[in-house]
């Protein structure tokens, strides 16, 4: 399945957002997520399916002004 992860094309076998994070090796409390422009809260990740073409954002803290 081909999704867009953080703005770049990405091949994944993960069927849910939670599985994607695991595949990425990202600690689930260290990031926040959105799918197709909508916020995906932490408790909902396991229940959030991924489909071909989905745009996924996985973000963590950054310096800001």
């Amino acid at each position: 399945m081909r999704i867009v992860l953080n703005g770049k094309a990405h091949e994944t076998g993960a069927l849910t957002l939670a599985a994607l994070l695991e595949e990425m090796g990202v600690g689930e409390n260290r990031v926040a997520t959105a799918v197709n422009g909508r916020f995906a809260p932490r408790p909902m990740r396991a229940a959030t399916p991924l489909s071909d073409g989905d745009a996924v954002e996985v973000v963590s803290p950054m310096e800001g002004g």
Binding site: N6, G7, M24, V26, R30, V31, A32, T33, A34, G37, R38, F39, P41, R42, E57, V58, V59, S60, P61, M62, E63, G64, G65
Partner: protein, 263 residues
Amino acid sequence: MDGSSPDRLVLYGETVVSRLLLGTAQYPSPDRLARAVAAGGAEIVTVSLRREGTGGTAFWELVRASGARVLPNTAGCRSVSEAVTTAHMARELFETPWIKLEVIGDDDTLQPDVFGLVEAARILCAEGFEVFPYTTDDLGVANRLLDAGCRVLMPWAAPIGTGQGVSDPYALRSLRARLPEVVMIVDAGLGRPSHAAEVMEMGYDAVLLNTAVAKAGDPVAMARAFGLAVEAGRLAHLARAIEARDMAAPSTPVAGTPFWTDP
């Protein structure tokens, strides 16, 4: 104002003493950032979100260690929906209802899109966020933001990163005069401590800075300079400065000076 009634700033129920808020971007090193926050006495720092995998985590550990409250922003957002989703991600990640709301309308001037801003503020306030909207000096926009539920406003002094100081002093004074009860933090466009002192003298409640500190030759010393200037401006506001006048007037009384005869 005397020792028994300290001058405090209340933001959505949270009380701070320092009226200098600092951004955390663009410092030469995380260590300098940490020292600048300490030197400026900032109790609140702004942070942002980045796509996972584009950097390290040293920064975030360091901010946590500083003990400063974080104010996440929606920098880079160019639409209402981007800003709203970013706010939600920030709330979850930083565990705070505070959000510095930026909806940028022009990639060159980075000026707020006031229409998108008001709409996003309405949505976020309704969803329980405590919104700090980055806005212009437009009074009508300010009123709509207040109607949307904002209890703090962040008008600009000049476009982000220009460092030119107050671009329209008349408008900024007028905004302050028309909304005397609203907590307003001047954000963006200040370059030097004198600029920060100036807006505090006008009666603004606090100042948020980033570039002017982070890109100074010595960011730590500059943070301290801004911290002092903000305090100076605040004190001067409370102490009621003299009015500028067109005519000169002697400071030393002339009557009684030697050799004096009426001119």
